[in-house]
């Protein structure tokens, strides 16, 4: 799976969780909490969506490693 394909999948999962976020506005280095305004509930639902779509399980203690969209792409890319 290429990095672009992972990005597209993560973006789809993110817009499922937060349909009011427009895809084109998401910068890869955007901080999920501060810039995209996601809360812990949104993050959990996103993590659940990623697990369902790609089979990658992100444990709670690793949430700090997916602080930005780019971090999450790298995290998933290393495990998919």
């Amino acid at each position: 799976m290429t990095r672009d394909e992972i990005r597209a999948t993560l973006l789809k999962c993110l817009t499922d969780v937060a349909p009011d976020i427009v895809n084109e506005e998401i910068e890869d280095d955007a901080d999920l909490r501060d810039e995209l305004d996601l809360d812990s509930m949104d993050i959990l639902r996103w993590v659940q969506g990623i697990h369902k779509a790609l089979g990658v399980e992100i444990p709670e203690e690793d949430y700090g490693k997916i602080a930005s969209f780019e971090d999450a792409i790298s995290y998933v890319a290393a495990r998919v």
Binding site: V17, A18, P19, D20, I21, E24, E25, I26, E27, R33, D34, E35, L36, D37, D39, S40, M41, L44, R45, V47, Q48, H51, K52, E57, I58, P59, E60
Partner: protein, 307 residues
């Protein structure tokens, strides 16, 4: 504005006003690069509220990011008087009317308590480690359940004001305040919040938040809450002084959970402390009752396995 990078054209390379103005013009980067906009959440919210198309803005922040001042200085396209209001505008007006009524009619009183969340968070970590991703819990569900169980013991706070008296509610329906990224706020009810397992409550809360974000809440959910829980801790604030949603007679506000020095068994140790505020209607309850409610809430959160 940083002068780093400004080439001085004056005597001995001195930076002149023309140099600064020229630098400002040349460094005004487009806010949208490759189809994506750099914009802060606050600026985006203002743009949505004012009906401003961010694609038409030039950002003055770092790397051309759009900041609140860029949006505020842009020409608004909000409908003028007589034109139909957008759903967000209608929601804002409804909230404004309810809050104005609450402020005018309800004699609020407030009591606060700092609660040690160490046990609750440790239990949550241990429990989540044993659950599948789809079954994980968030701390918000513990708060919801604890508030609901505390209300069973303090019924004067679980009521609605009808005309000239408070009518106690036979059930506990905690309303969950959910802010919408477009700028609105809703507080739909999780019916019978004191019943069922935590897993079931988590499932219902997830569904409620999803539908709130998608704008598909049922009208009955918007009117059946008997108390509201608002948590702004994730936004960093230490405490919340909330306004009651009429016809409810109480509201619970939670601030951030932060590490604080705390005395345990005579020793000062760092503990995750959360400030909880109860706002209540003085026509229905008093500070003594409100304090007892918060004490019960604290006790419940010290035994999360029983929630």
């Amino acid at each position: 504005m940083s002068l780093r990078g400004v080439q001085g054209s004056g005597e001995h390379g001195r930076v002149t006003l023309d140099d600064v103005e020229g630098f400002a013009r040349s460094s005004a980067a487009p806010a949208i690069v490759g189809g994506r906009a750099r914009i802060s959440p606050y600026a985006r919210r203002i743009a949505v509220e004012r009906g401003i198309d961010i694609r038409e803005l030039r950002g003055t922040g770092p790397a051309g990011a759009i900041q609140a001042r860029d949006v505020l200085s842009a020409k608004s396209s909000v409908p003028e008087a007589g034109k139909p209001a957008s759903p967000t505008e209608r929601m804002q007006r409804t909230i404004a009317a309810a809050m104005t009524r609450a402020n005018d009619e309800i004699p609020h009183y407030y009591v606060e308590q700092s609660i040690d969340m160490g046990n609750a968070l440790a239990w949550l970590r241990q429990t989540n480690a044993t659950l599948s991703v789809s079954e994980r819990l968030v701390s918000g569900v513990l708060l919801l359940r604890a508030v609901a169980l505390a209300l069973r013991k303090h019924e004067s706070l679980n009521a609605t004001w009808q005309g000239a008296e408070a009518l106690p509610s036979a059930h506990v329906h905690v309303g969950l305040a959910i802010s919408l990224r477009g700028g609105g706020l809703v507080a739909p009810a999780l019916r019978n919040t004191d019943e069922g397992s935590l897993g079931e409550l988590m499932s219902r809360m997830t569904d409620l938040v999803s539908r709130a974000r998608a704008g598909t809440l049922r009208s009955s959910e918007m009117t059946s809450a008997t108390i509201t829980l608002t948590s702004l801790g994730e936004r960093g604030v230490e405490s919340v002084t909330p306004i009651i949603f009429p016809p409810q007679v109480a509201i619970v506000g939670c601030g951030a959970t932060n590490e604080r020095p705390w005395v345990v068994d005579g020793q000062v140790v760092p503990r995750p402390i959360m400030r909880v505020t109860l706002g209540a209607d003085h026509r229905v309850s008093n500070g003594h009752q409100g304090s007892r409610f918060l004490t019960t809430l604290d006790r419940l959160l010290q035994e999360p396995e029983k929630l």
